[in-house]
Amino acid sequence: MSFISKYIKDVFGAMKSLLTGMKLTGYYATHHKKEKITQQYPDNKETLHLPERFRGEVVMIHDENNEHACTGCTACELACPNATIKIITKYDVMPDGKKKKALDTFVYHLQLCTFCNLCIEACPTAAIKMDQTFEHSVTDRSKLTKILNKPGSKIREGVE
């Protein structure tokens, strides 16, 4: 008789799981005003709220002294799966006469970027981050190639 009890158990288990699903969607249908997650984007441009982890584009963090934390180590360039980042380095002459590798230009090809976040994870000094801007359309392709370090910026003291 075990197959009959299994049969009945199956029927009730199925009913229970279906009702569990219907309870959730029923809750959503009756509370959609509170729970809805759609944002009517062009209408709410001023009050638009993006999730914290939204990935718009790569930017370099500059502080108020126009200093960044990029050492020019090219870890991000190596981590990038589709050659979005190109780092051009130069050699700074230190006070003691030694030469030290430093960042000259951080070239970022937005048109190649898939926003995979691997460069940010690879950066040992947290010099770059993902920004929340997402209105990237431009009239010319060359405008998508960006230089991320601001003109005249230099590396912050103490960042190795």
Partner: protein, 359 residues
């Protein structure tokens, strides 16, 4: 009660038969009914598709259509206009006659099922004495239209979809029929007006104890499958068969299939409301109580459409909650679960009917 549907139809009927000779009066009545049915169909198509889109949006935490008209109310009107102006292509390899005939067959079947439905007290096209049998018989014909569309399209997806649909409708007709029969056994008549009259002192779902509940649940599951709705929408399974049997259809011919789907939902829900929830009968408990009198103030058409739309909402609720089944799961569910359960259930209902255990 001056302005009930019953009085209006009776007055028109009397006036026509007094003014014209009976043949012409009958023809005029046919025309009026045809226009009314087509009007009902267009309104139903617009309302139900909008309702489906809104319900699905709410269940998925979206907003749904909200641009055309106030709160998006004219979205379906705009869609219909688009479909009307679109070109209705017929593929080169298709069987031209069957291809073009199929959407009309599906549509006509949906129209014919409306005949014995009672929309309000005394408002019915044809009070045929085998009304419920008529529902079951005609609703099986729609599978011919679907098979025709799938075969004539000369497309493997269409054919697969049509074949699945055939297997599905033929299977699920059984348990839908058995659960309908359990109400026929209780009411003791196949005539729709008799079945509604038998629910004068309470709907069958309250009077018939647990077996009627089981029959009701089985009926709802079976008609969901019969109308090819999710979770049983294998006939059109977007992810596997692009659009199933109507893959090759476009423009207004596609719109007819789409409309037929929604009209079929309305029809099966109306049948369910008639059999289990008392059709136009207001919520009554016992006879001659104060509660019944209060309920009688609500017009019968509102009761009918309220119940029908509640069932339609439940079926939409299913669609936006459950994932689609595989074809073997679908047939297992019918032949291993629904059919045996509804057979045993029918025995129980018959016992209740014979012993007069219902209230």
């Amino acid at each position: 009660m001056g302005l009930s549907f019953e009085n209006i139809t009776n007055n028109i009927h009397d006036w026509l038969y007094n003014t014209f000779n009976p043949t012409i009066a009958l023809l005029i009545e046919f025309t009026i009914i045809g226009v009314l049915v087509i009007g009902l169909f267009s309104v139903l198509g617009l309302v139900l598709i909008l309702m489906e889109r809104k319900v699905s949006a709410w269940m998925q935490l979206r907003l749904g259509p909200n641009r055309v008209g106030p709160k998006g109310m004219f979205q379906t009107v705009a869609d219909t206009v688009k479909l009307i102006v679109k070109e209705g292509m017929t593929p080169t390899g298709a069987d031209k006659l069957l291809f073009n005939l199929a959407p009309f067959i599906v549509m006509i079947v949906a129209m014919v099922i409306l005949a014995p439905l009672m929309f309000a007290k005394g408002f019915q096209i044809w009070d045929i004495n085998i009304g419920v049998f008529f529902f079951i018989a005609i609703s099986s014909v729609s599978v011919i239209g679907i098979l025709m569309a799938g075969w004539a399209s000369n497309n493997k997806y269409s054919l697969l979809g049509a074949m699945r649909s055939g297997a599905q409708i033929v299977s699920y007709e059984l348990s839908a029929g058995l659960s309908v029969i359990s109400i026929v056994v209780l009411a003791g008549s196949l005539r729709v007006s008799d079945i509604i009259a038998s629910q004068q002192d309470g709907w069958w779902i309250f009077k018939g104890h647990l077996p009627v509940w089981i029959a009701f649940v089985i009926f709802i599951i079976a008609v969901t499958a019969e109308t090819n709705r999710a979770p049983f929408d294998l006939a059109e399974a977007e992810s596997e068969l692009t659009a199933g049997f109507h893959t090759e259809y476009s423009g207004m011919k596609f719109a007819l299939f789409f409309l037929a789907e929604y009209v079929n939902i309305f029809v099966v829900c109306a049948i369910g409301a008639t059999l289990f929830l008392g059709g136009w009968m207001p919520l009554h408990f016992g006879t001659g109580t104060k509660f019944n009198e209060v309920m009688d103030y609500i017009p019968s058409s509102i009761w009918f459409f309220g119940k029908t739309f509640f069932l339609i909402f439940v079926i939409m609720w299913f669609r936006w909650t459950f994932p689609r089944m595989r074809i073997d799961q679908l047939l297992n569910l019918e032949w291993k679960y629904l059919l045996p359960i509804s057979m045993i259930n029918l025995l129980l209902v018959t016992l209740i009917a014979i012993m007069k255990w219902y209230f």
